[in-house]
Structures are given as C-alpha cells and as structure tokens.
Amino acid sequence: MSHNDHDPAVPKPPDLEALSAFVDRELPDEADAVVLEHLARDPQAAAQVAAWRAQKAALKALCGAPPAHEPSFIVLRAPVPWWRRAGLAACWLVAGAGLALVLGPLAPRLSGGLIGHDPMGLAQRADIAYAVYTPEQRHPVEVAASEEQHLITWLSKRLNRPLSVPSLQEYGYSLVGGRLLPGEAGPAAQFMYENPTGSRLTLYVTGIPDDETAFRLFRDGNRRTFYWVSDHMGYALSGPISEGKLRTMAIDVCSALGGKPESWQ
C-alpha cells in the first residue's frame, strides 16, 4: 500500500495532534491507518513519533513505579470532621444571618462536642442537619419542591428504597425541597418544610440496620426532634415548635409513611 508517488487525493499530512493521538492509540481505525501510511513516506514525522514514544516510555520509567516509601495507612478523619464541619457551618450560617437566637442552643455543641450519646444517633444527626441547613436563605435545599418528582426519584435512588414525601399542608407547612446527606450507615435524606411565617421543619430519613418501633423525643435547646424506626427506616421530624404539636405531626407523618403509630400511642 505504500506508493512513493504523491497521489493528489491523499489527505494533507497529519498534524502534531494527530501524531500525538497516534502514539496514544486514540485515533479511530481509519485515521490510524492514514497516519501509519503517512509515516512510511515521511521520515521526519516517523522520527517525531519515535521520539514521543521513547518519551512516553521514559516517563513511565521515571514516574511509573509505585512510591518506595508507601505509608501503610491514611488518616481518615472523616467521621469527626463531618460533625465539626456541620457545627462550624452552622456557626457561620448563624453568624452570617445574625440569628443570635439560634446561637445560644448551638454554642454548647461547638464547645463541648457530642458527649451525651443518645441510643439513636439518628436524632442527633437529624437535629444537627436541622441546625445547619434551616438558617440557609439562598440554598436551604439541593432540589426544590418545584421539582418534587425529580427530588423523590433522586433520593429514592440514592437511599435505595422508594421514598415518599408526606404532606404537612394541613399544619400550614409546605415543602421547600430536599437534600442528600451522609448518615450513620449510609446516605440520608432531609426534606424541609416551611410555613408562611418562615418557620421551618425537617424530616430526616435514613436506612437503619435494626428494626424497632420506638418513638422517642430528643431535645436540644429550643429544638425538638421526634424520631422512630419503621421497616428498617429511621425517621426524624425536627423543628422549634411545641412538643405537643410536633408529636401530633410526627404521628401523622409516621402513618402517612406506612408506619404504625398505634403501637406507641
């Protein structure tokens, strides 16, 4: 196939990019054949390709070996920074928004850390997520309620089970949207609701390995969180409203989500 005489139909010689892609075998078969044919006729291009191939091999020899002093571990401080970051983020958000009201209940957490451990880390996580995200004015949620179907599909996929968003409309709270969060044993979803006065509630949902039907209350400052587990799913409803009202709503949410609030009523 190598003709020495120039055929006017032969395409123009491959440029540097084509030669470079040829070295990496990134050209489609047809273009690859064209370059190969050209190299047979063009010693300069052939020398260039050879030089680049040698360069590639040498780079591999120079850098390709695994590092000699391989540390046997990497310090993964992930679980701790999450809390700290959440606390810190809350602190900044609060400071930024000038919500001194929220700062009080939050301060003990920032200084003292999480000492008291509730049997359900779920409630604490939900509570912190509430504290972190509800003061957000511009980005309270990742996906807004206007895209509710997408929100549900997305979070159901990430939590690997069908989710539904209960309506709290009869209590005056409408859905703002939701976001994905790291939970204790996998991903968690947070749905946010808001009433006309701007007061916010969150419903925190995550998978839970054990299955118990306890219904408990977690308090932190002026915030209350009712939480329960149903069918390997943990739920937590958080908000700065009265216990009685939040309890009624939680019972409603529980039954709307297929739970059996009768068992703990």
């Binding site: 440029d15 540097l16 990019e17 030669l19 470079s20 892609a21 070295v23 990496d24 990134e26 260039q48 030089a51 680049w52 191939r53 040698a54 360069q55 590639k56 091999a57 040498a58 780079l59 591999k60 020899a61 120079l62 850098c63 390709g64 070996a65 695994p66 590092p67 002093h69 391989e70 540390p71 990497i74 310090v75 993964l76 401080r77 992930a78 920074p81 999450w82 970051r85 994905l180 969060l181 790291p182 044993a185 996998g186 991903p187």
Partner: protein
C-alpha cells in the same frame, strides 16, 4: 462504606501521580491525604457510575493549584523549587537519560506537565483526562501534543538552555 473502600483503593495511584506532579514526596503525601479527606466529605457530590478516579484527580488538581499559589507567594525563587533537590534517577530508557527527562519535566508549565503525566504515566484515556482536567477532549489533544514537542525540544537543547538569554552580550 463501599465508597470509602473505593476511594482508598485509588490512593496508591493518586500518590504516584502527586509525586510526579509536585516532585516532592512529602507535599504529595499531604495532597493525597487532603484529596481523600475532601472526597469523603463531599461524597454526595459524586455521581455514581461516573469515573471515580477522574473525580479524585480533579480534586487533587484543585488542591495542588491552591497550594502552589500559596507557596509561590512565599517562595518565588525557582532554585528552591522542590524538584531541584530531587535525587537524580539513575538509568537510561530508549536513549533518554532519566535525569535530563526529569529536569525537562519540571521545566514544563503545569498545564503541559499534568496532561503528559495523566496520559503517559497514569494511562488515562483522552476522555478520562478531559474529565480530570475539566477541559474538552480537543484541548487535551492540543495541550498534549504541545507538551510532547516542548519536552522534545528541551531534551535536545540540553541543560545549558536556561542560561542562554544571559549570553546575548557579544564582543564584535
């Protein structure tokens, strides 16, 4: 859990790349540590079924550029650059002395060095490199060919090249 394990499985490659990129193994180890931490903290931003390695490389790149900027503000002096103190690698491959190659590698601008390392050493496809560098594939191709040519010229010209501009004064 599975995500963490996957991130950890890429650490040796990330470390190798970071060392080649920075020419400084302590800096590289810090970079990899920071990258892993950031990846685990931002796991929610990762789309499943997309390329985890390219995503990690992107994080590493952003961190490196940030840190490079911070260091440059302190030390502008090229003589103190980390690769000046690198131990010269012994050996010769395909007619190229590795010492010269190393010197040439760190003479390249960052944009050329990173694409060259990603494709030649880390063996990323152009597609993967385009994701890792957040540029179109066409840019990967043109940058890569320029990097190769730049490198070839540096290797031909040899180490005296750097002082050449100082020799303009000539006695007629």
């Amino acid at each position: 859990m599975k995500f963490e394990a996957e991130v950890i499985s890429w650490l040796p490659q990330l470390r190798r790349y970071a060392r080649a990129l920075t020419g400084d193994s302590a800096w590289a180890d810090d970079l990899v540590q920071d990258t892993a931490e950031r990846a685990l903290a931002r796991w929610a931003a990762f789309r499943p079924n997309s390329n985890l390695r390219a995503w990690l490389l992107t994080i590493l790149r952003h961190l490196y550029i940030d840190q490079l900027r911070a260091r440059r503000e302190i030390a502008v002096d090229d003589e103190s650059a980390p690769w000046r103190n690198l131990e010269a690698p012994p050996g010769e491959v395909d007619g190229l002395v590795l010492r010269d190659l190393q010197r040439a590698l760190y003479c390249l601008p960052l944009e050329q060095r990173e694409v060259l390392l990603l494709v030649c050493v880390e063996e990323l496809t152009y597609q993967e490199a385009s994701v890792a560098l957040s540029v179109p594939v066409g840019t990967v191709m043109s940058r890569l060919s320029r990097a190769r040519e730049h490198m070839r010229v540096l290797l031909i010209e040899g180490p005296t090249r750097k002082s050449a501009p100082l020799k303009v004064v000539r006695n007629p």
